[in-house]
Each structure stands twice: as structure tokens, then as C-alpha cells.
């Protein structure tokens, strides 16, 4: 395999990066970790003439808590940096766990959260849990910044609402009232396998009553999707095994899986039932976000 030729730029500021993107148009792509982009280029699926590396943008590699905003994760933070971040382990262990189950150790040292989101692969592992936690992203463009709910960002496989001059700069997990959350990835091997189904849930429990729930599904629709009917089915209800089964059935009904080499639509749909139920049980019982 080989990489086609391209020009390499390493802008020193976000503004410079966006200006370069604006100037270059569709010929340019942003290089974060490269674990996905470079492979696509080797396969000839994309052929950017210019790669704009985020390497120098140190401001994109931090994880911090900003009062009034929430936890802010820089777009260039690697999956392993997420796994190892004390702040995230304390506040959102479920995000660490989701990052931990991605790909393999070597890839997790290079791949980034921003790249995982920007590539918009339907089976990506981070978007479901981030959507369940109500995360938003900041997009910086030649003409300034905008913020967007992550669940609104995706428009189809590999497609998002990002403008040609924009880069994702940060991911914000807002303060919330959730008492538990989790992401379960179901893959066909314990490492280095894409999700056949990924289910993320966040719940706010009051005793045994579920006051609020967000359920996000991966790999079963063109984009990571909220299972809103399932959420409605559990909200305000007293949790029981029967209820969780019913919520799972609801999620299975509303997901839109396709058949591919990793699994049939029928199998995926049933796995949504199973893992929605299990994820809810886990989030409720383990009691950490």
C-alpha cells in the first residue's frame, strides 16, 4: 500500500488552520491522529492534496473542567489520554471505558476524540456515550466559532455538518444530573473489532424511579442515534427487569440497522434489545456516571 502525495502543513494557530482550510477548499483535510484518514488514503477512498496537521495546536490537547460549562476535552486528545485522565475517571468513567474498548492500545495512543467524531463512522465508539451525556462540540471556522449538540452533528456515514473551513476544537460534556451512565460495545472479538452494536445510556435515578434517561445507539443507523421512544418508555417509571426488557424492545424497534459482513440487520436489532437492557441495568446498578 502507499499514500498518494500531498502537501503537509502544520499551522501554528487555529485561525491559521481555518484560514488554510478556507483557502484550500475540498482539496484539504485535517490530520489529527491519522489512524482513520491515512488508511482511507491508502485505500484510495479519499485523496486530499493538502493535509493540515493539528500537531502544533497544543491548546487542543487538554482536558479541563470549566465552571459553568462542564468538562472540556480538546479535539486532539487521544483515546488513551481519555482513559488515563483523572478528571474523566472521576466524573465520567463511562467515557474512559468507552475509549478503552476502542481498537487496540497502539491505535489508542494515536487516534483522537476529534477524529473519532469527525470521521462519522456509524460504529464509532465515543459518539454514543457523548451523546447520551448531552455533549456538544465547538467548531472553529475562518469566521469564528460555533457550538453544536453532538447528536445534531452527524448527517450520514462519513457525513457531518462541518463546514469546509471548520475544525472541531473541543468536546464539552455539560454538568448534568445523571446518576449513572455506561457504554457497552458488542464486537466480534475482544480487541481490534468494530462495534456490531454499541449502546450508551445515561440515567438519573431517584431511588428506584428513573427520572431521566438518554439512550444513544451506535452501528445500527447511518448516524449515532437517540432511542427516544425507549427513553420515553423508561422515564418516570419504576425500574424492574420487565421494564428494562420492554425498553430494550422499544429501542430495537426504533433502530435502523443494515446487514453487513459483521451481522445481519435482524441480529443487530435483537442485540440492541439485549444491550439496551444490560446497559440500563449496569448504569442503574453501578451508580457512576
Amino acid at each position: 500500500m502507499y499514500l498518494p502525495d500531498f502537501e503537509y502543513h502544520m499551522p501554528a494557530s487555529i485561525q491559521e488552520a481555518c484560514a488554510l482550510l478556507a483557502k484550500s477548499g475540498p482539496a484539504a483535510q485535517v490530520l489529527a491522529g491519522g489512524t482513520d484518514l491515512l488508511n482511507k488514503m491508502k485505500h484510495g477512498l479519499v485523496a486530499p492534496q493538502i493535509l493540515i496537521s493539528l500537531k502544533q495546536l497544543e491548546q487542543l490537547s487538554g482536558i479541563e473542567y470549566v465552571a459553568g460549562k462542564g468538562v472540556v476535552i480538546g479535539a486532539r486528545v487521544t483515546h488513551n489520554a481519555i482513559c488515563n485522565a483523572k478528571l474523566l475517571q472521576d466524573k465520567y468513567l463511562s467515557v474512559c471505558e468507552a475509549a478503552h474498548h476502542m481498537a487496540n492500545n497502539q491505535i489508542r495512543n494515536v487516534g483522537t476524540i476529534g477524529g473519532n467524531i469527525a470521521n462519522a463512522v456509524p460504529s464509532a465508539d465515543l459518539p454514543p456515550i457523548l451523546i447520551a451525556l448531552g455533549a456538544s462540540i465547538t467548531l472553529a471556522g475562518a469566521n469564528g466559532e460555533r457550538e453544536m449538540a453532538l447528536e445534531d452533528f452527524f448527517t450520514g456515514p462519513g457525513k457531518t455538518k462541518i463546514a469546509p473551513d471548520e475544525i472541531i476544537t473541543q468536546i464539552i460534556i455539560p454538568d448534568g444530573s445523571f446518576t449513572g451512565s455506561t457504554y457497552i460495545k458488542f464486537g466480534l472479538r475482544r480487541s481490534g473489532a468494530l462495534a456490531v452494536v454499541g449502546v450508551a445510556v445515561a440515567v438519573e435515578m431517584d431511588g428506584n424511579v428513573c427520572k431521566k434517561a438518554r439512550i444513544a445507539l451506535g452501528a445500527v443507523a447511518p448516524v449515532p442515534m437517540r432511542a427516544t421512544q425507549a427513553e420515553a418508555a423508561i422515564t418516570g417509571q419504576t425500574v424492574s427487569d420487565d421494564l428494562l426488557e420492554a425498553v430494550g424492545v422499544c429501542a430495537a424497534k426504533e433502530c435502523k440497522p443494515i446487514s453487513d459482513m459483521r451481522g445481519s440487520a435482524e441480529y443487530r436489532r435483537d442485540m440492541v434489545r439485549v444491550f439496551t437492557k444490560r446497559a440500563l441495568r449496569k448504569a442503574i446498578d453501578e451508580g457512576h456516571v
Partner: protein, 765 residues
């Protein structure tokens, strides 16, 4: 009394361990030669198409491109590894037969330029209808893949031993089951690579090969050269498992490009191209009928099989015969009928993967046998014990079995796994299952007809006696033959292993050996090495007798010390005697060779499966099934092997681990998948899922005491035998856990889920 042996039976460190852990070991792709070019093959994007025109003009203009060749520039002699069906060409001239078929090749200054040039070659195709299913391929009116083979029948086998119909009539119970095995790929971690260099009329090829001899033979034949003018040198090889036994387009096209350019040319496959070149496991459809008496004694077996061979023969004829031939080896029954069709399809050619044709039929038979046990209300182990092959017996297809401790293997597996306490008592979702198997210790006949010995060796003691070098064309592809053969040489000579050196697998400097396949080298190459070592020792002791003034018969040598049997205090160092030998008589050299005795019957195909010795194994596995998802969690596996005597215990058990690992991958995860155009969907290691370290269960490998009279020091096979029982073993454990039978490989989570769903639905009715 000291131990019986000084060197063998010990886990000495691998002779190439150090160079491999430091990164110094050079594989073919690591080599560089002055002025070397890089080459690649252009392959077909269509499964079946006529080639109308090939236009290389644009590609030739690309700076850095040094040569482009098509069928017009190379020998047109058809080749293959099975002499009965030479059906491959260096490049296709009339049509392509699978996605990945060879069309042209480029040599250029660097890798990037080669890839770019490939894209610039324009080939006009007329796409033809293609067929991907063997059952479809043999129907009248199916697309014809090779003109010479009507109905796409590559090989047809009809064997009949005893009287199966009569056995079925007399049987207490007769049962038929149908199973399907699917395509898997060897997936060595090292991609294939070859460097060709011409000097005048002599061709040297460095290659990642399992058999320098077959490479030399076929390359010489293709280019019309005497074998002496073709030198094949094996470098370190990063795994083969059957996939690097036959020469590829890399050797043939590379040699042509090197000749044309007058420069060394390095050719290589990338991972996708490896999958397309394939030669992995066939897909087999296997229908088995068995008749048993009341006690479970097998009376007769009818195996009616079909194979998808892909577009070419490769080693597939042998595979087809092996599929049936190995069935009556494991269990004793007198009546056996075997029908097989190997069909051509427009998919990559299949060949010999670890265990060759045997693992899938063994999966089918072991599942089938458990079904029979269930029908009879018998414990599966009891049924196996009733039928297990015994030593010094002959199979209905004329294989003579010497040592055989299968009964002991089964008993021991039962004991170490805790079968009696576990079977049927493990609770919901947990189960335990058994599978057994057997394999050859080398093929009784070579791949092409020749009366050459199968193995030979030379040992040269260095002039000062401080070292000895073993020369042999036996081929170490990672399994450790260089180490084991040096242990054997040292033992036979009475020398120290630590002072052994080895030159192996170079057709110019080492004496003939057929290479690494059919689990042959410990027994066959080992026999030759033992003989060579003994010849050295004999000469050494004669010299020592003169020096020490004792009778040669009173001397022996061990651990590099020559000593008197009658007066063990009387000694001389090996080195001193060897040096004196050199001074007085010249080089101290021993040689040996090995040819198996005449083996097997006279019926058509009788040669396949013959072997001087057979190994046996029993495996038991414990699984836990997630009844909602079908996920299979293998908890633990036990392999008990009858592999004769052991030269190097730690390398031997490592072979069992690896063979079991490959069987396990094929059992649950691995399958090469195609779209409806014959394109591989998962030609990469992300979607073709070899198990990772996190997926592997606890493995216990143990042996039974066994001595094989046909092998040097009593040895026989170990490298492939542990792949064979694995698939059936897991399938039976799943059945024990959930009461479901998955009749096709791999036993994927989704298939288990579906079977569970169907079971629930049928129970609800």
C-alpha cells in the same frame, strides 16, 4: 546412571531465538541488494473476464518505471504444484478467472512508483458470467472456467472399501448429517516476498518459502533451466502454515523482470494481495452417514463431500483426497465409502492449510459422532473409546499404523479436564465437549513423482573441533526445525548442542529435503540427521581408538567427551580427537538420507495420507455461551497428544498451542467473505479476525507416553495435529451447553444466536 540422552528431550533455547528478539533476523522483505528494483503484479478486478487488450504505454512513461511485462514477455508453460493439473500461467493471456488473477507486472525504482504504474496500465476486459458456489458450478450451463474441465469438475474421487451398503443394512442405527466448512486463510504475519537476481544464465531467488526444493524445481521447469542453475535461498520466514509451499507469481514474474532489467527485483504482496493469492482452507460441504451397532461400534461410514477449490488447482487434489482418507484413521471401521467433487469456481484458489484437508471433515465427523452418541444415549467419550484406533492396525484404505495411544489420549483428556464431574452438570450456559483427531508424520510420497530420498543431511565438524555445522534443506519457518535438528545432530554425534551451527534451506549449499509440510521434518529430516551424526561419531571414535589405544567398540561419546566404556575415567575431548582427525584424514563429515518404505495400497489415490507414522490427539474444551447474544466464551482447552518421543518439550508444546490457536480461530471467528462479484470483503486483519491475546483461553498441553518405531528416537508428528480436533471439540461443547448444533463453520456468535432462537421457537410450538 546418567539420563538416557544428553541433548534430546531437553528444552534447549531456540537456535535463532536471539537474532529474532533483537530484530537482527532478516526476512526476505528486509534484504537490500545494490541496484535493486521493486516489483508488483497487476491483478484482475473481475472474477471472470476476457482480456481484450492491455495498454502499458502510459505506465511506461512514468519516471522510475524500468520494465512492464505481460503474458507476451514470459514463458507460457502452465504450472501448478500438483503435476496432475498444471493450470496456472505466469500471466493470464486469454481470460482472468478470479478477482486477483495475474495480468501484468511492473518493476520500478521504488514502491510508490510501482503502485502508481499499476494504476496506469489500462486493461480492456469483456466481463463474463461468473460462478462462486461449487454446487452451482457443476451444474450444466454454469459458466465454464477452464475449457479442459467440463462442468468445472477439477477432481472427482470415488473410493469404496468393504461394503458400506451392507454395513448400513446390518446396523442398529444409521444416521446422516450435513455440515459445511468455510474458507479460511493461513494469514502468516509476514507477507510473501521474493527477490530474484540473474547472473548470466544463473538465477538466484531469495524467498519466504516453505520448500526451497519445490520452488527450485518449478522455477527451473518454467524457465527451462537445469535445476543447478536455479538457487533458491530461504531467508527467515514469518510463518507459512501451508500458504508458502508453492511458488507464486512473485517468483515467476520477479525472475522475468530481473532478467529483462538485469537488476535484482524484489517482489512482494501486501495483505490484500495475500488474501487474493490465498491457497487457504477450502470450503467443504460434507454429508456423512454412519451405521453403528447397539454398543456404538462403527460398522460403516459414507462420506459424500464437495469442495470449492477456487479458480486453480494449487494443492487441492491432495486436499480432496486427504478430506476422506484421514477419516478411517482416527476410528476403526472396515466399511468406508468416499465420494468427492472438487469444483472450480471464480474465487481465489484454495490449497493446504495446517491439517490440510482433514480439519473440516474431522469437525463434521466429531459433531456427527456426538449426534450418534445422543441417539444411542451414550456418553460421547464412551463412544469414542469403543471405536478408537489401536496400535499395529491397518486402516481400510491401507494405512499401516504403528504406535497409537489414542485410547490413552482420550482417557487422560477425560481425567485432566474433570469430564466426569462436569459433563451435563455445569449449569446453564456452560458446556464441555470432546474432539479427537489424527495426522500424518510426513507424506509417504512427494508432491511430484521422483525417487529422490525425502530428506538428507551433511554434518561437517570444524577443523579445530570446536563446532559442527549441520547442512540440510529442511526448512525452518518458525516451528523450530533448525533447533530440533541440531539437537538431534548433537545427540547422534555425542556433541554439545551449544556448539552446533546450521546452514539450512539453500538449494546450493545444503543437500536435498522436500521442506516444511505434512508435519514431516522431525521424523524424516531427523532420520537423515541422525544417520549423518552417527557417521561422524563412528569416524571420530575410530580415530579416538587409535589415539587412546583402545578398541573402537570400547568407546562412546557424549556431551563432547569421548570416554571408554570399560574405564569411564579414560576420556578425551571431542574437539581434540576431531582436530587430530582433520590433521590425519581431512574433513570429518557425516552424511545421511531418508526415504520412507513403500507405503499404501494400489487403488487410485492410495498414496495420499500414507505416512511412516501417525499421531493422535484428544481435545476437550469448556465453553460458556451467552444465551441472549450467542457469544462464545471459551474457558479452557486441554490437548493430549500422542506424538511419540519428544526432542524439545517447550518447542513441542508451543506447536500444540499454535495449532490449537489456528483451529480455534477457524472455529469461531475466521472466514474469508466475498461479495456477489467475487471480491473479498475482509482482506485485512481488522475484519478477518484472528483471535487476539484477549480472546485465547487457558490452554493445557500434555502428552502420553508413546514410542514410534518408524521415527528416529521414536518421534512423530506434532505441528498440525492439534488443529484437527478443535472445531468439533468446540461445536460439541456448545451442544452440551445449549443443546444446539451449529452445522457450519465458523460457529459465529450470530449462528449460535440464530440456532438458540430457532430452538426456542420450535419449543414454543
Amino acid at each position: 546412571m546418567a539420563e538416557k540422552y544428553a541433548v534430546i528431550g531437553k528444552s534447549v533455547p531456540k537456535i535463532d531465538g536471539r537474532v529474532k528478539v533483537t530484530g537482527q533476523a532478516k526476512y526476505t522483505g528486509d534484504l537490500k541488494f545494490p541496484n535493486m528494483l521493486v516489483g508488483k503484479i497487476l491483478t484482475s478486478p473481475y472474477a471472470h473476464a476476457k482480456i481484450l487488450n492491455i495498454d502499458t504505454a502510459e505506465a511506461e512513461k512514468l519516471p522510475g518505471v524500468k520494465a512492464i511485462i505481460t503474458h507476451k514477455d514470459v514463458p507460457t508453460l502452465k504450472y501448478g504444484i500438483s503435476p496432475a493439473r498444471w493450470d496456472e500461467s505466469i500471466f493470464c493471456s486469454d481470460k482472468v478467472r478470479f478477482v486477483g488473477d495475474k495480468v501484468a507486472a511492473v518493476a520500478a525504482l521504488d514502491e510508490e512508483t510501482v503502485y502508481k504504474a499499476l494504476k496506469l496500465i489500462k486493461v480492456d476486459y469483456e466481463v463474463l458470467p461468473a460462478v462462486f458456489d461449487p454446487e452451482e458450478a457443476i451444474k450444466e450451463g454454469a459458466p465454464q472456467i477452464h475449457d479442459e474441465y467440463p462442468r468445472n469438475i477439477n477432481t472427482e474421487i470415488h473410493q469404496n472399501f468393504g461394503d458400506v451398503e451392507k454395513a448400513f443394512k446390518e446396523a442398529y442405527h444409521v444416521r446422516t448429517d450435513r455440515f459445511e466448512g468455510n474458507r479460511t486463510y493461513q494469514c502468516p504475519i509476514e507477507p510473501h516476498s521474493a527477490i530474484s537476481i540473474w547472473e548470466g544464465n544463473k538465477l538466484t531467488v531469495y524467498s519466504s518459502t516453505q520448500s526451497p526444493h519445490y520452488f527450485q524445481y518449478y522455477i527451473a521447469r518454467e524457465f527451462g533451466l537445469p535445476m543447478g542453475d536455479v538457487r533458491v535461498i530461504k531467508t527467515f520466514v514469518g510463518g507459512g502454515f501451508g500458504g508458502k509451499l508453492e511458488p507464486t507469481g512473485l517468483e515467476f514474474a520477479g525472475a522475468a523482470l530481473s532478467k529483462l532489467t538485469g537488476r535484482p527485483v524484489k517482489m512482494f504482496y501486501d495483505r490484500h494481495e495475500m488474501f487474493a493469492h490465498n491457497r487457504g482452507r477450502h470450503k467443504q460441504i460434507m454429508e456423512i452417514t454412519t451405521g453403528v451397532d447397539k454398543n456404538g461400534k462403527l460398522l460403516g461410514v459414507y462420506a459424500n463431500f464437495m469442495m470449492d477449490g477456487g479458480a486453480y488447482t494449487s494443492l487441492g487434489i491432495a486436499t480432496a483426497y486427504y478430506a476422506g482418507a484421514m477419516l478411517p484413521l482416527t476410528y476403526e471401521f472396515d466399511n468406508f465409502k468416499f465420494d468427492m467433487i472438487r469444483a472450480y469456481t471464480n474465487l481465489p484458489a484454495c490449497g493446504a492449510q495446517r491439517g490440510h484437508g482433514a480439519p473440516q471433515p474431522r469437525y463434521a465427523f466429531e459433531c456427527h459422532l456426538d449426534n450418534v452418541a445422543t441417539d444411542l444415549g451414550m456418553d460421547p467419550i464412551q463412544l469414542r473409546l469403543v471405536n478408537a484406533r489401536q496400535p499395529n492396525t491397518v486402516t481400510p484404505n491401507d494405512f499401516a499404523v504403528n504406535s497409537c495411544e489414542l485410547t490413552e489420549c482420550i482417557e487422560k483428556a477425560k481425567e485432566v479436564s474433570g469430564w466426569a464431574e462436569k459433563k451435563g452438570q455445569m449449569g446453564k450456559g456452560r458446556g464441555i465437549g470432546i474432539g479427537v483427531g489424527s495426522f500424518v508424520s510426513g507424506a509417504g510420497y512427494p508432491i511430484y513423482r521422483t525417487n529422490l530420498p525425502h530428506a538428507s543431511a551433511i554434518i561437517k565438524v570444524h577443523e579445530d573441533g570446536t563446532a559442527a555445522t549441520l547442512y540440510t534443506m529442511a526448512t525452518d519457518i518458525g516451528q523450530g526445525s533448525d533447533t530440533v535438528l541440531c539437537q538431534m545432530a548433537a545427540e547422534a554425534m555425542g556433541f554439545k548442542y551449544e556448539n552446533m551451527k546450521i546452514v539450512s534451506a539453500d538449494t546450493e549449499t545444503t543437500p536435498h529435503d522436500f521442506g516444511a509440510y505434512a508435519s514431516r521434518q522431525t521424523l524424516m529430516s531427523g532420520s537423515a540427521v541422525k544417520q549423518a551424526g552417527e557417521e561422524v561419531k563412528k569416524q571420530l571414535l575410530e580415530m579416538a581408538a587409535q589415539m587412546m589405544e583402545v578398541a573402537p567398540g570400547d568407546l562412546d561419546c557424549r556431551d563432547s567427551i569421548v570416554f571408554s566404556l570399560s574405564d569411564p575415567e579414560k576420556t578425551k575431548p571431542f574437539g581434540e580427537v576431531a582436530r587430530e582427525f582433520f590433521v590425519r584424514q581431512g574433513p570429518l563429515v557425516g552424511k545421511g538420507s531418508y526415504a520412507p518404505p513403500k507405503l499404501g495400497g494400489t487403488f487410485k489415490g492410495a498414496a495420499v495420507g500414507t505416512s511412516p507414522a501417525y499421531s493422535f490427539a484428544a481435545q476437550i474444551s469448556e465453553v460458556e455461551i451467552d444465551e441472549e447474544t450467542g457469544e462464545i466464551d471459551v474457558k479452557e482447552v486441554w490437548d493430549i497428544h500422542d506424538c511419540g518421543q519428544v526432542i524439545n518439550p517447550s518447542l513441542l508444546h508451543a506447536q500444540v498451542h499454535g495449532a490449537l490457536f489456528m483451529g480455534m480461530g477457524e472455529s469461531i471467528w475466521e472466514q474469508v467473505l466475498f461479495d456477489d462479484q467475487g471480491r473479498i470483503l475482509n482482506p485485512n486483519l481488522g475484519e478477518y479476525r484472528l483471535p487476539t491475546a484477549m480472546d485465547m483461553p487457558k490452554i493445557t498441553s500434555e502428552l502420553v507416553e508413546s514410542y514410534e518405531p518408524a521415527g528416529p528416537w521414536g518421534v512423530k508428528e506434532v505441528g498440525e495435529g492439534a488443529t484437527i480436533p478443535t472445531m468439533g471439540c468446540y461445536a460439541n461443547a456448545i451442544y452440551d451447553a445449549m443443546g444446539i448444533r451449529v452445522n457450519s463453520l465458523p460457529l459465529s456468535y450470530e449462528k449460535v444466536w440464530r440456532a438458540l432462537k430457532e430452538k426456542r421457537e420450535s419449543e414454543a410450538k
